[in-house]
């Protein structure tokens, strides 16, 4: 079974345009910063926000096709959704929340309750069946919401930020549970998250969403080795500069972006258009003076932050383009690196890896 999404959706002035596919048995994560349009996309797939263009199909079933006036109402979609703030019904017990989708489909009360309590028991909530949502802990409420979404065995499971409302301790436990439930769920599985760690633990395939657009689709490994945007690069901890190339000499080019230019090797495959230049933070050398030597990229700028990770530090620089450098703690001390200090950053042209977009 495959969900194919290729839509444009609007909410007020905000527009999301996204195209991706999700196959049964493989979890897809929609990963993006806050405000990237993840929630709008979730609402569109769930049928709450009809798209203005494009189509959503689940195998042969067309869920949305505005050009042909097709819009399947939310209640007729085979989709189980766990919303970001859960939206459990406050007037119903945990068991009746979980039984709600069965009751809505005309299953008798005793049977619906029987099936709900079995599912709650599987999720470790056997003794909380009679509790109201406000009496549940964050982790318990999360599991009730999951039970409610799973109980009718939908074709598609959609989890919107399933762990964001939980504290650290609960998050670890619920993450394991969510992972187990995703693994045993046979249909199409989509999770939405802003947390790259969560995404790479729970999903086999990532769809990066930035500012209402899909910027990259791939496995975590693919994105790690070849990020295509600043956000993706940030996620995997490398620098990415997007722009076009112009030749400046034998085998050498200049990558011109809106935020600055870099000297790069000239790739034989280049014809025209945008490319992404990747610079690994470990390749960026910092110094107090303008460096003498073979480095073709020499930039001057102010340090905006220094983050220490183990025996190394990630230094953010307000150069043009902005960069992250990774240096030893020794260098931090020797150069007196802290916010506001001005330094020279340098790296060789060959240290810029160019990727076709």
């Amino acid at each position: 079974m495959t969900l194919a999404v290729d839509v444009t959706s609007r909410r007020g002035a905000f527009e999301v345009r996204a195209a991706f596919e999700a196959e049964a048995g493989r979890t897809v994560a929609l990963l993006g910063p806050n405000g990237s349009g993840k929630s709008t996309l979730v609402s569109t797939i769930a049928g709450l926000v009809p798209p203005v263009e494009g189509a959503i199909t689940l195998d042969e079933a067309v869920l949305d096709d505005p050009a042909n006036d097709v819009h399947v109402q939310p209640e007729r979609r085979p989709i189980g959704v766990v919303f970001q703030d859960l939206l459990l019904f406050p007037h119903l017990s945990a068991m009746d929340n979980a039984a709600f989708p069965l009751r809505a489909r005309g299953v008798t009360k005793p049977e619906a309750r029987q099936r709900a309590s079995e599912l709650l028991a599987r999720l470790g909530l056997a003794n909380r069946a009679d509790a109201r949502p406000r009496e549940l802990s964050g982790g318990e409420a999360q599991r009730v919401a999951l039970a409610r979404a799973l109980i009718v065995e939908p074709a598609l499971l959609l989890l919107d930020e399933p762990l964001s409302a939980l504290d650290v301790a609960a998050r670890m436990r619920v993450r394991e549970l969510v992972r187990d439930e995703l693994a045993r769920f046979p249909g199409v599985r989509i999770i939405v998250t802003h947390d790259p760690v969560e995404a790479s633990i729970l999903a086999e395939r990532l769809v990066l969403l930035e500012d209402g657009r899909v910027t990259q689709i791939g496995t975590p490994e693919e994105i790690r080795s070849a990020p295509r945007s600043r956000y993706a690069a940030d996620l995997v901890g490398v620098n990415a500069v997007r722009g076009f190339l112009e030749p400046i000499g034998e085998g050498t080019g200049r990558l011109i972006s809106s935020e600055g230019a870099l000297v790069t090797p000239w790739p034989e495959w280049y014809v025209e258009g945008d490319v992404v230049g990747i610079v690994r933070p470990i390749d960026v050398t910092l110094g107090p003076d303008r460096p003498e030597g073979s480095a073709r990229n020499v930039l001057f700028g102010r340090v905006t932050s220094v983050a220490i990770e183990g025996d190394r530090a990630r230094v953010r620089l307000a150069t043009a383009p902005p960069l992250v450098a990774e240096v030893t703690l020794g260098s931090v001390e020797r150069l007196g690196l802290r916010s506001g200090v001005e330094v020279w950053a340098s790296f060789k042209a060959v240290e810029v890896e160019l990727l076709p977009p």
């Binding site: 769930a46 049928g47 709450l48 989709i79 189980g80 959704v81 939206l87 019904f89 809505a104 009718v152």
Partner: protein, 277 residues
């Protein structure tokens, strides 16, 4: 300014919550006058009520007929207010259409309109001879509303309807619509969402709408006597009975008044915790 920020200040300003409890002397006098204004007539009623005869008076034909009619009129009216008021509140809260503010103002107007004017208006609309709809109803179907129980219900509904709409509007506004969205994604039809999510979550406001409009309908006088008349067994509700008895048998007027006070008091107790905090 919150207490928390006050308490972190210097000792002199930290005492301000105590100062806040001080009440200006003039206010005490005026507040007492306010209470007296409401309490004196109540006290007068209690003192003037012929307690020894009250059982006999209330068991009389006139009182029992009026009570029965009042309960029928108020209950029917509250039911109509809910059945029409719920969809109207829905449209006013969730709909967007030109003239919404005007529609809302018109619906609320009976709340501040003199009831006798309401009665005149009802005559103009439903009167047998010259009523906008009334003359047509009579000419075509032979239906006459004036001087019938239906007219008493109509008059009571006219004045109590805005209370129901206001309470239901408040309920719908306070509802998290995303719960209804969530219910839809869980397979609930619109009707099922309404029945199992919207209405249960609005329970307190629906109760308030019913009780308030019922109580207002129970006490309706001006519009009823103007539009429906004062016919025992057909349009003579408790307040109309009081009005009539005041001219013939004052003891009976006080006894029936006491009954109305009792019913009103029961409503207040029923609403306790909803509007009285």
């Amino acid at each position: 300014m919150s207490l928390a920020t006050d308490s972190r200040r210097s000792p002199s300003t930290a005492s301000s919550p105590l100062r806040r409890g001080r009440i200006p002397a003039g206010f005490v006098v005026l507040a007492a006058l306010g209470v007296a204004l409401v309490a004196l007539p109540l006290l007068g009623l209690v003192l003037r009520t012929p307690w020894s005869r009250i059982g006999e008076i209330l068991a009389s034909e006139t009182a029992l007929t009026a009570l029965r009619l009042s309960l029928i009129v108020a209950t029917t009216s509250a039911a109509i207010s809910f059945v029409l008021g719920f969809p109207l509140a829905w449209v006013l809260v969730r709909g967007t259409f030109p003239g919404k503010t005007l529609v809302r103002a018109v619906v609320i107007l009976p709340l501040v309109m003199p009831p006798v004017v309401a009665g005149v208006g009802l005559l103009a609309a439903f009167g047998r001879r010259s009523g906008l709809v009334g003359s047509w109803l009579y000419d075509w179907f032979g239906i006459q509303l004036t001087f019938t129980t239906a007219a008493a219900v109509l008059a009571a509904t006219f004045v109590s309807f805005p209370l129901a709409v206001l309470a239901l509007e408040a309920g719908l506004r306070g509802l998290d619509e995303r719960l209804e969205d969530a219910a839809a994604t869980l397979g609930a039809s619109r009707w099922y969402v309404l029945r199992r999510v919207t209405v249960p979550l609005m329970g307190p406001q629906i109760a308030a709408a019913l009780v308030l409009s019922w109580a207002r309908a129970l006490g309706e006088f001006g519009a009823t006597i103007t539009f429906a008349g004062n016919l025992q067994g057909r349009t003579q509700t408790l307040p109309l009975a009081v009005f009539e008895q005041l001219q013939t048998d004052t003891d009976a007027a006080f006894a029936v008044s006491m009954l109305l006070i009792f019913l009103a008091f029961a409503v207040i107790l029923g609403l306790r915790g909803r509007f009285l905090r």
